[in-house]
Subunit: 135 residues, 2 copies
Amino acid sequence: MDNTALLQKYSLKATPQRLEIVNVLSTHGHMNVNELYSTLLIKFPSISLATIYKNINIMLEKGFLLEVKLSEQKNVFELVKDNHSHVACMKCSDVIDIDLNIESIVNEVKKRSNYKLESNSLIFNGVCPRCSALK
Amino acid sequence: MDNTALLQKYSLKATPQRLEIVNVLSTHGHMNVNELYSTLLIKFPSISLATIYKNINIMLEKGFLLEVKLSEQKNVFELVKDNHSHVACMKCSDVIDIDLNIESIVNEVKKRSNYKLESNSLIFNGVCPRCSALK
DNA sequence: CTAAATGCAAAGCATTTGCAAATAT
DNA sequence: ATATTTGCAAATGCTTTGCATTTAG
């Protein structure tokens, strides 16, 4: 499914600005508001921060964008894919995805808390190999 | 160690406002900025939000207060204790602590990411037993 | 053609800062 | 006695809103 189809699937008009947001997120993976804004500015010199915010918000509502709240840095946004966890570098702010089998942990949490669980956010903070090497 | 001693350990003057913040957090567990403010207002009718913020920030810096970033609600603060995870209710915003053995997961993340891990934040979102019953 | 989206400017909140007065040590 | 802390008011910064214009379908 291409990006135009993705937007249409969620009843959003495929404007050039929106297409670029989706584009940029699908190549960069995780970006915060300002990174998105500066990146879009290149292609759309008169784009407004308000447009970025409005689009982020509507994409979050529609459910195909996800906000990741990180401990040591600004929140970032990513296109929704299969449930996965994140590893964040405290030095360079790089964020990577990692698929973990957390079934047993989730079951443990269910059993011990008696909560009905619906989602989870697992974030591991550390220093990436590149930054470790740079010491 | 009492709360005065805790503050002194971190070279902070044990003002009544600070003692009450620590007090309230040690009984309530997790509170956001406004909950802290309204609670402190009872005992200190002229306390300022700025004082709440200043103290939260200095306690975070000193390292005995921790900010928990939740997906569906405002961030909350807690006194630092042993590493643990959180389960949050999407209905009533209740947050509980849970001790999980995540050694094997952490090792897996280390191995697969090559990051040097320093901390983690595991948050499980769902509906608490009380809210489930209320349906 | 019409409803939705953009871009601008203004408004709204949350958080921080500067400073004089008060306070812990 | 002194450096720190408090509380107020102002400032800052991030996000949202309103509205006229433009644009996608």
